[in-house]
Structure formats: structure tokens, C-alpha cells
């Protein structure tokens, strides 16, 4: 059963009049993992950032086309950006924790939303850290500096922090690219867990990762969507020759 969460219609993106995305049409399904793959500079990050309007922070950004979430165009004039960014959480390639305690990092979003009661905040911290599979490792040092954690732990903490804002969409830009195989496996397992509750978009350079965790895969090349479909089909029998060349490592 198809259940579209995000609909990208004819989306083009420009930075200083240089085109980064060219007429992208894409339907992202609810509670599925969709991977975005493609060579460096093809527009993966730009595409993710149109979904929570992060691109607008960049000077010279221009866009054409629509992005609908639950049927509502998020580029509409009266969209509340704060609400949008709460709805659409983002995890970046490198952890971007604040140089503060683990606890403070996690409660950042809930406090912004006006939650002050210690009991409730404690509950949120335990819940999201458990979801992000990091609770056991940090529960005894919630007050220590978040930046003292290992890279893999920091990345999972970023995920926990994002979950604390209670988004319904998770954008992940190469969440495991700096991690060892075990931490990577943990993040992948986590992604599979989380998709029961969230709609996930995953940018990855690791083709095998896309194959392992995603239900759908989109292949971008030079700002164009070359192929989009179910992951098993893409990785056993892609339709497009360029896709086949890319996933088999024959590119360029």
C-alpha cells in the first residue's frame, strides 16, 4: 500500500544561478527508508536540505517547484519554519553537538518547546537515548561533556537529540560515514528500528549501506534523478545503464 509522506514536484535548486538540482520528481513513502545515492556534488545534500528549508540559510539560494509534506506545500508563505524544522529532524554527516553536557544537548529542543519540568525532561532523555541505542553507554554520565564521547557515540547522541524534538521525518546525511563497522552496524540497526515510527531519508556514499537498510533508493547524477525504485530491484536489476555502472563501481 502506497502512503506518500513527502512529494517533491518539479523541484529545481540554484546556488548563485548555478543549478544544483534539475526538475526532481520524487514521492517518499511513510515509514520507509529511502536512500539517496550518487557521486559527490550530484545534489544529495541540497535535496535533503530542501525538505526542511535549510537551504534558505544559504545566500544565493533559489528554488522552483514544490515540496509537499502530508499534502501541504512547505514553501507556502504562511508556513511556520519553527514547526517545520520540528517536524523534519536532520542528522548531519559530522556530529554537531554543543560543547555542553550530554543532558543539555538532548533537552535542547524540548526546552525550546517550553518543557521545563525536570521529571518530564528526564523521561524524554531516557526514552530517546534508548531509541537511539545509546542509553546504556551514557546513563551514568549524563552531566559530562558531550564532546568527550567517541565519534560513534556522538553520532547516536545526535540522533537522540533529533528524536527529542519529536519529528515525524528524519533526514540523515551520511550518518555513519565517519564510523567503524560496529558503530555503523548499530546505526543501521537503529535506522531499521526507527522506520516503524519515522519516515527516513538517508544520504549515503556507501552503496552497501543503501542496499542493506533502505526500502527505496534514488540515484542522483549531476542534479538529475536518474532512477528511483525499490531497493531490491535497483540492486539486482536496475533499469538505467548509468545506475548499473554506478552501483557496480564502473563509473567515470
Amino acid at each position: 500500500m502506497k502512503d506518500t509522506k513527502i512529494e517533491i514536484k518539479n523541484l529545481s535548486v540554484f546556488f548563485n544561478y548555478v543549478q544544483a538540482l534539475n526538475k526532481i520528481n520524487l514521492e517518499i513513502q511513510s515509514n520507509k527508508v529511502t536512500s539517496i545515492i550518487g557521486p559527490s556534488g550530484c545534489g544529495k545534500t541540497s535535496l535533503l536540505r530542501t525538505i526542511n528549508r535549510m537551504n534558505e540559510l544559504i545566500k544565493g539560494f533559489l528554488h522552483k517547484g514544490e515540496v509537499l509534506i502530508d499534502g501541504i506545500n512547505i514553501y507556502d508563505k504562511n508556513i511556520d519554519l519553527v514547526k517545520l524544522r520540528k517536524l523534519v529532524g536532520m542528522v548531519f554527516q559530522n556530529s554537531n553537538l554543543f560543547p555542553k553536557s550530554i543532558y543539555e544537548n538532548i533537552v535542547f529542543a524540548p526546552t525550546l518547546q517550553g518543557i521545563n519540568e525536570k521529571g518530564i525532561l528526564d523521561e524524554i532523555v531516557e526514552r530517546v537515548c534508548t531509541q537511539a541505542a545509546i542509553w546504556k553507554e551514557i546513563k551514568d554520565k549524563l552531566n559530562s561533556n558531550a564532546l568527550n564521547l567517541s565519534a560513534g557515540q556522538q553520532q547516536r547522541l545526535c540522533i537522540a537529540r533529533t528524536l527529542a524534538a519529536e519529528p515525524s521525518i528524519l533526514l540523515m546525511d551520511e550518518p555513519a560515514s565517519a564510523l567503524d563497522p560496529i558503530s555503523t552496524a548499530k546505526i543501521e540497526e537503529l535506522i531499521l528500528e526507527l522506520k516503524n515510527e519515522y519516515t527516513i531519508l538517508l544520504v549515503t556514499h556507501n552503496m552497501q549501506q543503501a542496499a542493506r537498510v533502505s526500502d527505496y533508493t534514488a540515484f542522483l547524477y549531476m542534479g538529475q534523478l536518474i532512477e528511483f525504485g525499490r531497493t531490491p530491484k535497483m540492486f539486482t536489476n536496475p533499469i538505467n545503464k548509468q545506475t548499473e555502472d554506478y552501483i557496480t563501481g564502473r563509473f567515470g
Partner: protein, 227 residues
């Protein structure tokens, strides 16, 4: 830690085990048909064979997908490569059962011949070998797998004996040659079922130990260290 690939491999094993039981049933019915002279089961075996063919395709597809999506290594990779071959062997056993039942369908005088050629023993040996092959696969049991080689030799001897007996019978009573030749071809096909069962055992041994038993005879195999 359960990995995503574990779920897929579990599904694959379940399919293969179902296929084992389908094929087992086909062979049982074919043997039953020879012994009892009932001609009603050909159709059943053919229907079962179409199911087996569907399983065969499905299993190929599952393996293809698991390899493409999970990049298996080490024991996972061995299991998948072997599962592919086990699948082929199972499918062949099913085909042989169909052939046998079609030939059995044409028999009229088997009562006269079968009791003279130790057919019961051959049938028993085949059934036992299939059980060993399937049990060794289901339980990753290399002892059961190795055991198959003893039985294969036994089967070869029994088939040899029966074929010699058939020659004698034909000499004594030329009128029965036609029938005896049919039984001879059944014997050969049963022997091949035994070979396929043994092949399955070899694959199980390979999955567990990573040692290949291909092209070894039973003396080589009995002198292998236990793993």
C-alpha cells in the same frame, strides 16, 4: 546481535526445508507406486513437481537478493553458495521422482521381479539417505553428512547386485526383458537420487567447516578429522 541478513537467511532456510519435505514426499510416493503397483500417484507427483519448480525459482531469487543487498562474507557466503547448489540438487531429485513414477506407471509384472532383486532394501536406503541429507542440513550436522558416504557405497553395492540379478532374470525368461529394462532404469534413477542426497551432505559439510568434500571417496572422508 541479530543482523538484518539473519532474517533473510532464516527465511531462505525455511523455504529450503519446505522444499526438502516436498521432494521427500515425491520420492516416497514414487517408491510406493513401484512397490504397490498403484497407478494413481503419477498425477500427484507431477503436481508436486510444479510446486517444487516454483520453489526452485523463488529460492534462486531470494539468494540473488540476499547477495545483492547484504554483501555476505565467510559463513554467510558459504551458506548462500551452498544453498544455491542444495536447491539444484533438490530440484533434480524432484525431477527424478517424476521420471520414476512415469516408468512405474507402465510396470505390470513388478511382483515377479522386485522380490528377487532386494528392491525393498534399496528403497529403504534411499529414504534413509534423504532423511540424513535433510536432517544434516536442518541441524548443520556434519556427522550426519559424513554418514551419507557410507550409505552411498552401500546403495551402489545394492544397485550393482540388483542389476546383476536382473540380467539373470532376463536370461531365464526373455519374455520379461521389457519389464526388467524398465526396472533397471528405475534403479539407475534411484541411484542418482542417492548421489544428489550425498551432494547435499557435502554442501552441509562445506557450510560448517569450509572444507570441500568434492571429488573425495569415502575412505578419504572417513579419515577426515572431526570438526
Amino acid at each position: 546481535m541479530e543482523r538484518p541478513i539473519d532474517i533473510h537467511i532464516e527465511k531462505l532456510k525455511t523455504r529450503l526445508i519446505k522444499m526438502c519435505s516436498l521432494v521427500d514426499d515425491q520420492v516416497d510416493k514414487a517408491i510406493e507406486e513401484i512397490v504397490s503397483g498403484k497407478n494413481t500417484v503419477v498425477n500427484e507427483i507431477e503436481i508436486a513437481d510444479r510446486r517444487v519448480d516454483k520453489f526452485d525459482l523463488k529460492i534462486d531469487r531470494i539468494i540473488h537478493r540476499i547477495i545483492a543487498l547484504n554483501q555476505p562474507v565467510a559463513v554467510d557466503l558459504r551458506l548462500l553458495l551452498s544453498a544455491m547448489k542444495i536447491n539444484i540438487n533438490l530440484e533434480r531429485i524432484g525431477d527424478l521422482a517424476v521420471n520414476i513414477s512415469r516408468t512405474a506407471d507402465e510396470l505390470k509384472l513388478q511382483d515377479k521381479i522386485l522380490s528377487n532383486i532386494k528392491f525393498e532394501k534399496i528403497a529403504g536406503e534411499i529414504k534413509h539417505m534423504l532423511k540424513l541429507a535433510f536432517d544434516s542440513f536442518i541441524n548443520n550436522d556434519t556427522d550426519l553428512a559424513k554418514n551419507l558416504f557410507v550409505h552411498e557405497e552401500n546403495l551402489d553395492r545394492l544397485v550393482d547386485f540388483s542389476q546383476n540379478k536382473l540380467v539373470e532374470i532376463m536370461k531365464e525368461d526373455p519374455a520379461i526383458i521389457d519389464e526388467a529394462m524398465k526396472i533397471n532404469s528405475i534403479l539407475e534413477e534411484l541411484e542418482r537420487i542417492g548421489d544428489h542426497a550425498t551432494n547435499i551432505g557435502k554442501e552441509v559439510y562445506f557450510i560448517v567447516s569450509s572444507k570441500s568434500l568434492k571429488h573425495l571417496d569415502s575412505d578419504d572422508i572417513n579419515s577426515l578429522d572431526d570438526i
